[in-house]
Symmetry: C2
Subunit: 302 residues, 2 copies
């Protein structure tokens, strides 16, 4: 299980009630920050995310509404006495931005700050542990942009403990059985692994796709994801604006969700020209049923 909380999802600029792009994905005690628009640190506090659980920040692209809250967050971590290292993944150029700001303010962090610059135009695994990985989803949006595919990996089988006891399999074998080994009874009889464990639960995946033109080439990579965030800056009636500004419509987001066989779609990055956001829901639903709005302070369990 992972928990995704929306910190901000409006496009262009924040207002009194809305914040620009930022989300936090919680998994196994760690929090992964995705984009960091202005005011993200305020929203992190509001949603009671513990700053120290954030070790990785992913920036999709260098338009201000996706990262202008990052310099402040880096310095706030420092002022709060952070010691834990922080890794930031973002487009080439982000290091120059951060170092320029730091130098002019005659300051630096006391914690280790590692900035990993991305420039690949094909998917790249940028974080990979035993039970979690993050892969870039290259997007097309005028400036170099990545979405991110988050994968919670299923690495161990769930042991059917009653059966193991019944068959007289010693506890010392349990760890091995969870990893796929066969069991051996007290009498030396071999019990096939598949009889001792429940079927593997598939990996849980979250695909974050913002900002991007409508582009079917991402479908192959995000196929069967459990949750898909796809930007929908415009409604179909303004599809010409979407094309011109390299954004998508709600209908197009619905098409991507449908054709990639996502389990659920959430929409965001709405242009401020629209007052009634339900229109986005209705439009996407013409192509894909299970859809919701990614509004501030809402959360989704994946």
């Amino acid at each position: 299980m992972m928990k995704l909380t929306i910190l901000g999802s409006c496009s262009a600029y924040p207002t009194i009630k809305r914040f620009t792009s930022s989300q936090i994905l919680e998994n196994n005690g760690k929090s992964y920050l995705i984009d960091c628009g202005e005011g993200t640190q305020i929203q992190l506090r509001k949603n009671k995310i513990k700053f120290n659980t954030i070790e990785h920040i992913f920036i999709s692209h260098l338009h201000g509404d996706h990262y202008f809250g990052l310099p402040g967050l880096i310095l706030t971590f420092n002022l709060l006495g952070r010691e834990k290292p922080l890794k930031i993944y973002g487009p080439k150029g982000i290091k120059e931005i951060i170092t320029t700001l730091m130098k002019k303010g005659n300051t630096w962090t006391n914690y280790k700050l590692e900035i990993i610059e991305l420039k690949n135009i094909i998917p790249e695994i940028i974080l990979n542990t035993t039970n979690f990985s993050v892969t870039t989803i290259p997007l097309t949006h005028g400036v170099y942009t990545n979405g991110f595919l988050f994968r919670k990996k299923t690495i161990t089988h769930k042991l059917i403990i009653d059966k193991a006891i019944e068959l007289g399999i010693d506890k010392t074998q349990y760890a091995g059985i969870k990893l796929g080994k066969d069991g051996v009874t007290e009498n030396g009889k071999i019990i096939k692994n598949r009889e001792l464990v429940e079927p593997l639960v598939p990996d849980i995946t979250y695909a974050f796709c913002s900002d991007t033109i409508f582009d079917r080439k991402i479908i192959q990579q995000i196929r069967n994801c459990d949750l898909l965030y796809h930007e929908s800056t415009f409604l179909k009636k303004h599809e010409n604006f979407a094309t011109k500004t390299l954004h998508s419509t709600a209908e197009q987001a619905g098409i991507i969700a449908n054709e990639s066989n996502a389990k659920k779609l959430i929409l965001g990055h709405f242009s401020s020209r629209y007052k009634d956001l339900n229109l986005f829901l209705e439009e996407a639903k013409t192509k894909f049923k299970n859809v919701d709005l990614a509004l501030e302070n809402k959360f989704f369990i994946i």
Copy 2:
């Protein structure tokens, strides 16, 4: 009359209820933005300041809590279709910061953006019109820092209109009399200007002093100001922190207000370690009576 609204006054980082340094001074239909911490554009909306009335922005220094809201505000102005030019006054280095951010995002403003870099270490008049001026107040704070002295100039005398009518002075002379000329009656008798006008009201001045160590050398420049904002990051019991970090205490702010003969003092930039801000008031009052806290969304008529 001028109106000063506090948009943010906490030090270091914003929280759910507090914002970092930013103030707006309104005079004669124009708004002057002083510092621009993260979230300033949200606070401008909350306080119903019309974005288009802002033509001048003054940045005291390049610590993040005083300008990390500036890049977003510049771009928001652009997205809202601004055509009016914008002038930004800030320390040398601010132009490189803004241009770096713009270049990496592959964007620029459609309106004229003029960045005036300051590097003088003696007071400098940086804006001067017939009825308004802004002068830097060089401060000592580790990085190059300026306060700003805002002056609403009194340029015309107020005509005693009943007397002018009584003496039979023609209306065509009124404009000249307001500027200091003598009047002439229908009979050709000269009436001294001082008999036709009320005494000149003194200029109205607002002195913004943040961030700074306790330094009496600013007193001469801000003497007799109508309103003084002086930072008070710490209480006297932490004066050693103030000295170390080149900040001031509430008592020291009170001393500056007292010795400069300010009419009123407002305090801000409080360290987040203090929960009871009334302690700042009490401490400053031991040195200067007319003192208030510069809290978010409060305004002061000068």
